[in-house]
């Protein structure tokens, strides 16, 4: 069997790396994950800096292309293999709505969810205590943001409309981590957000990627 033409570099437990992997899984593209160690500082070694001078993961190599930034990677994969998930097969407004809710994920939801996830799940790996004040502040903001999602998802099945898109998929990996914290109740309390989350999590591709991110066993409080 030939080595896949597509390589992803990084540690799969990162929701950013796994965002890239999810795009590849949804598109049905063969790829090789080249594991790296955050602890060992692999992202700061010269061979990685040659791929991503910003010292981050993931990096995707696709033939002659070397890409970084998980959402740019996801767009590239889908543009090439499954453009309907970008809404570009439809009209301009559909593509725009995909972009809108991708921006919302990036700027409104993820910063808050990531802050909560870092404190609740990843602080042991960072060698420090959880900062509950940071958690509380972000939980309050996230409640308000999720109200907007609830209103949106009561009007359409998915975020950009009645079709699944990268806008929805881009949420999966960070929400998978978030749902392993005790603040999952924020989502569970909202019927439409909850149903949307369940349908995302039920997809074969998301189930597969969820296994790359065993955050439930990383010391998160048991429900």
């Amino acid at each position: 069997m030939a080595t896949p033409a597509v390589k992803v570099y990084g540690w799969a437990i990162s929701p950013f790396v796994s965002r890239a992997l999810l795009a590849l899984e949804e598109a049905g593209v063969d790829y090789e994950l080249v594991p790296m160690s955050r602890q060992a500082g692999d992202h700061r070694r010269p061979e990685h800096l040659a791929r991503n001078p910003f010292e981050k993961v993931p990096v995707l190599e696709d033939g002659d292309l070397t890409l970084f930034e998980s959402r740019a990677i996801a767009r590239h994969v889908l543009r090439k293999h499954k453009p309907e998930l970008l809404g570009t097969a439809g009209n301009l407004e559909q593509a725009a709505l995909v972009d809108v809710w991708l921006e919302v994920e990036a700027h409104q939801l993820s910063p808050l969810a990531i802050a909560i996830v870092v404190e609740c799940i990843f602080t042991p790996f960072l060698g420090r205590e959880r900062n509950q004040a940071v958690v509380d502040e972000n939980v309050e903001k996230l409640k308000k943001v999720l109200e907007v999602y609830e209103a949106r998802l009561s009007q359409s099945k998915y975020l950009a409309g009645d079709f699944l898109s990268l806008a929805d998929l881009s949420h999966f990996t960070i929400m998978h981590c978030f749902m392993a914290t005790e603040y999952a109740t924020l989502v569970e309390a909202l019927p439409h957000v909850s149903a949307w989350w369940e349908s995302l999590a039920a997809r074969p591709a998301t189930k597969k990627v969820a296994e790359f991110m065993p955050v439930g066993t990383a010391g998160a409080p048991q429900k």
């Binding site: 910003f54 890409l67 930034e69 959402r71 570009t88 972009d99």
Partner: protein
């Protein structure tokens, strides 16, 4: 046909982002002022246009959009042909991917480093009457230097005129609003240490679209 509308003036960096794209495609547009001090952006009328209560929002006939980068892409996709402008390069997958990469870098790496300097040195003193938090400014300057080290190497090593290659793109244009505001602060001279970055910025500022919109960005230090 009614002109498209931008809700929020060019004083708001993210509204300026959208307007620069409208200027690039030469589309007529109307600017609807939103009274930030009166919290008009949080009022019911504006919330119906942008449910997160932020500026800008955008209207093109029945299409209502928010999030400046999403609005900008819609404008570029719909109106680029007559203007013979191609800032997204979506017809060329490799080029489009590089535009996306550096657009993400602006949003997630460049902006978090440069924006706090603008807020501390310009916005908070003007709007809240506070003096700038020097600790935040110093930390941001350190972050920005590291980011500019990478930009400098990227532009000079590849001898690229622009970030995604030798073509001006959406990725470059996205850097305009916050960089412009940073350049109105006393820290502007930081760019002197980065000759390729400074030259790239000069190319951006020379564009008619950027010159025109920056004239309306009057929240100065």
């Amino acid at each position: 046909m009614a002109p498209v509308k931008v809700f929020g003036s060019a004083v708001f960096a993210n509204a300026a982002r959208v307007m620069a794209c409208l200027e690039e495609v030469g589309l007529e547009y109307e600017v609807v002022e939103v009274d930030y001090t009166a919290k008009e952006h949080k009022g019911p009328q504006q919330l119906s246009k942008n449910p997160f209560g932020q500026i800008p929002a955008f209207q093109d006939g029945d299409t209502m959009l928010f999030e400046s980068r999403a609005i900008a892409k819609y404008v570029l996709r719909k109106y680029s042909k007559p203007a013979q402008v191609d800032l997204l390069r979506e017809g060329n997958p490799e080029e489009a991917a590089m535009v996306d990469v550096w657009t993400e870098v602006e949003a997630h790496t460049y902006l978090p480093a440069i924006a706090p300097i603008f807020y501390e040195c310009v916005v908070y003193p003007a709007r809240l009457g506070t003096s700038s938090n020097q600790k935040v400014v110093e930390e941001s300057l350190e972050k920005l230097k590291k980011v500019l080290d990478v930009y400098e190497a990227h532009l000079s090593k590849n001898k690229y005129l622009y970030l995604a290659g030798d073509f001006f793109s959406f990725a470059d244009l996205n850097h305009f609003p916050y960089t412009f505001y940073f350049m109105t602060t006393s820290h502007a001279s930081l760019f002197d240490s980065y000759p390729s970055v400074k030259a790239w910025w000069g190319r951006l500022m020379a564009r008619p679209s950027v010159k025109k919109i920056s004239d309306g960005m009057v929240l100065r230090a």
